[in-house]
C-alpha cells in the first residue's frame, strides 16, 4: 500500500495535505483497497464547518458504507466534482484525482490537530490493525 511521506493521516484512514492554511482531504490507498470498488461518496458542501474527528460524509462501496471523518477543523472551500460523477477515481488515484474536499483551516496559525499521524506512524498503525 502506498503511504506518501509528505501527507498526514488519521486512524480512520483519511489523508491530509497542507498547503498554507488549506488542507486537502481524501482516503488512503489502504482504505480504498479495503473498501473495494467505491460507488458513491458524499462530502460536506462548500461553506459548511467541519470538526476534527467528527463524521462529515460517507463512502459507499460494494460491500459496505463508512463514515468519512474530518481530519481537521475549518470551513469547506471546495469539493471534488469528479468523485461524484466517477467514484472509481478514488480507487484508481486516492492521493491525486480522488481527493474529496478542501478545508480552510480555522485558527490564526492554521494549527493541525495533534493526533494526526505521520506516514511512518500510519504505516505502523495499518500493520497492527491487520
Amino acid at each position: 500500500m502506498s503511504v506518501p511521506d509528505e501527507l498526514h493521516y488519521t486512524r480512520e484512514h483519511e489523508w491530509v495535505a497542507i498547503t498554507g492554511t488549506t488542507a486537502s482531504v481524501g482516503i488512503t490507498d489502504h482504505a480504498q483497497n479495503s473498501l473495494g470498488d467505491v460507488v458513491y461518496v458524499s462530502v460536506p458542501s462548500p461553506g459548511s464547518k467541519v470538526t476534527a474527528g467528527e463524521p462529515c460524509g460517507e463512502i459507499e462501496s460494494t460491500k459496505s458504507v463508512s463514515d468519512i471523518f474530518s481530519p481537521v477543523d475549518g470551513e469547506v472551500t471546495e469539493v471534488n466534482a469528479e468523485v461524484d460523477e466517477n467514484p472509481a477515481v478514488i480507487n484508481a488515484d486516492p492521493y491525486g484525482a480522488g481527493w474529496l474536499f478542501k478545508v480552510a483551516l480555522s485558527g490564526a496559525g492554521g494549527e493541525l490537530p495533534a493526533d494526526l499521524l505521520t506516514a511512518a506512524d500510519y504505516e505502523e498503525f495499518i500493520a497492527t490493525e491487520e
Binding site: G36, Y40, E58, E60, T62, V65
Partner: protein
C-alpha cells in the same frame, strides 16, 4: 486469519494477488481486482470461482432415496440419476436449516451440497434422520469445487471436456473428464448465468483451474471472488442463507414454497408445520427494491411505508447491471400489494423508502429477479 481452512486453490489465489477474507471458517478470495469488473465479466463473458468451501455430503445405500425424502422438503427419490434439484432441509417447526442442491449420482448415491457455514449441522441432521439402510458421510475435504459461469462458459469448457456439453442440461451432473482429470460436471450455478460447477479431487484442482484459465484467455474469462458472487446472486434474486433464509423463516416466506413437496408420499421432517404454513396468510413477503438515490440499502435496514417501519432489508448492494442500489427485503404483505400496484411503487410519490442511516431514501418495489439472462 491463520486458523482459517485453506482450499486446494488458496495458493493459486495468493499468486494471483487476491484479497482474501475469512468466510464460514475458510480463507476465501473476496476479489482479485475490481469486484465490479469481475461481476461484469460474468454477465458478459465468464468468471472462474473457487467454491471449495461448500459442503459435500454423500448419502448412499439402498435406503438413501427414502432417507432423503424424509430428511428434506423435496423428493430426491423422484430424480433420475444424473439430475439435480434445489431443495431445503427444515426443522420440525418448518424453519430452514439450509438450502441445498441434491445430485442423484446413481440409484443409491446422492451428493448433497450445503452452505459452508451449515455443513456441520446439515450433516448431523441427515445422519440423525437417516433411517434404514442409508449411510451419511461428510466428503467436503475430498472435493475442490470450481465454478465456471457466464455466457462464454460452454465455449471455454467444450474443448477440455470429454462430454458433449449439449447433453449436460441445466440442473444435471455427470461424471466427466476435464483436462485429464475426473470430475463431476454439473450445469448449476449461483450467478443467474449459464455455467458449470466442477467437483474435482483436491490434487487435480490446480490443473483444472489452470486449464480453464488458459482456455478462457481469449474469451474474457477472469477469476471472480465472493464479492462478485454475492452481487451476481442478488441480481438474480437468489436467496442467501443467513439473509433471506434462516431458522425463523420457512421456504414459503422466501417465496420458495414450490420446493416443499407436500404431495410426496410419506412423512418428512417439518411436514405438519409446513402444511399449516402453506394454507395460512403469509406474515411477510420477500420483495425486490430499487433505490432511487445512490445510497445503498444494506442488510438489517428498516423498510418504511409512509414513514412507518414495515419490513427489513435482507441483502442490498449497488447493482453493476442496473446501475442503481438494489435490495431484497421482507415486508408486510399489505405493503407489498399496495406498493406493487402501478403508481404506488413505481414512479409514485415515494411512500416506500428505506431508512438508510437515519434518512428515508425512496425506493421502488420491483418483481424478482432484478436480472434475467437473455434467452
Amino acid at each position: 486469519m491463520t486458523d482459517l481452512r485453506r482450499t486446494p486453490l488458496t495458493g493459486v489465489h495468493e499468486r494471483l494477488g487476491a484479497t482474501l477474507t475469512g468466510f464460514a471458517g475458510w480463507l476465501m478470495p473476496l476479489r482479485y481486482g475490481s469486484e465490479t469488473a469481475e461481476h461484469t465479466a460474468v454477465r458478459t463473458a465468464a468468471g472462474l470461482f473457487d467454491l471449495s468451501h461448500m459442503g459435500e455430503i454423500m448419502v448412499t445405500g439402498p435406503g438413501a432415496a427414502a432417507a432423503l425424502d424424509y430428511a428434506l422438503v423435496g423428493q430426491p427419490s423422484a430424480l433420475a440419476p444424473g439430475r439435480a434439484r434445489y431443495t431445503m432441509i427444515c426443522a420440525p417447526d418448518g424453519g430452514v436449516i439450509d438450502d441445498l442442491i441434491v445430485y442423484r449420482l446413481a440409484a443409491d448415491e446422492f451428493l448433497v451440497v450445503a452452505n459452508a457455514a451449515n455443513t456441520g449441522v446439515v450433516f448431523e441432521a441427515l445422519e440423525d434422520r437417516a433411517r434404514g439402510d442409508a449411510q451419511v458421510a461428510d466428503h467436503t475435504d475430498d472435493y475442490a469445487l470450481i465454478a465456471l459461469q457466464g455466457p462464454h462458459a460452454v465455449r471455454i469448457l467444450a474443448p477440455l471436456a470429454s462430454a458433449d456439453l449439449a447433453g449436460v442440461k441445466y440442473y444435471t451432473g455427470y461424471p466427466a473428464t476435464v483436462a485429464g482429470a475426473e470430475v463431476l460436471l454439473a450445469r448449476t450455478g449461483y450467478t443467474g448465468e449459464d455455467g458449470f460447477e466442477l467437483f474435482t479431487r483436491p490434487p487435480d484442482a490446480e490443473r483444472v483451474w489452470a486449464a480453464l484459465t488458459a482456455a478462457g484467455a481469449g474469451q474474457g474469462l477472469v477469476p471472480a471472488g465472493l464479492a462478485a458472487r454475492d452481487t451476481l446472486r442478488l441480481e438474480a434474486g437468489m436467496p442467501l442463507y443467513g439473509n433471506e433464509l434462516g431458522p425463523e423463516l420457512t421456504p414459503f416466506d422466501a417465496g420458495l414454497g414450490r420446493v416443499v413437496r407436500l404431495e410426496k408420499p410419506g412423512d418428512f421432517v417439518g411436514r405438519a408445520a409446513l402444511a399449516e404454513r402453506a394454507g395460512a396468510e403469509p406474515e411477510r413477503e420477500l420483495v425486490g427494491l430499487v433505490g432511487r438515490s445512490r445510497r445503498v440499502p444494506r442488510h438489517g435496514y428498516a423498510v418504511l411505508w409512509d414513514g412507518a417501519a414495515c419490513g427489513t432489508v435482507t441483502s442490498g448492494a449497488p447493482s453493476p447491471t442496473l446501475g442503481a442500489p438494489i435490495a431484497m427485503a421482507y415486508v408486510a404483505p399489505a405493503v407489498a400489494r399496495e406498493a406493487g400496484q402501478a403508481g404506488a411503487g413505481t414512479g409514485g410519490p415515494g411512500r416506500l423508502a428505506v431508512d438508510i442511516r437515519g434518512r428515508a431514501e425512496p425506493a421502488d418495489l420491483v418483481s424478482l429477479p432484478f436480472y434475467r439472462r437473455p434467452a
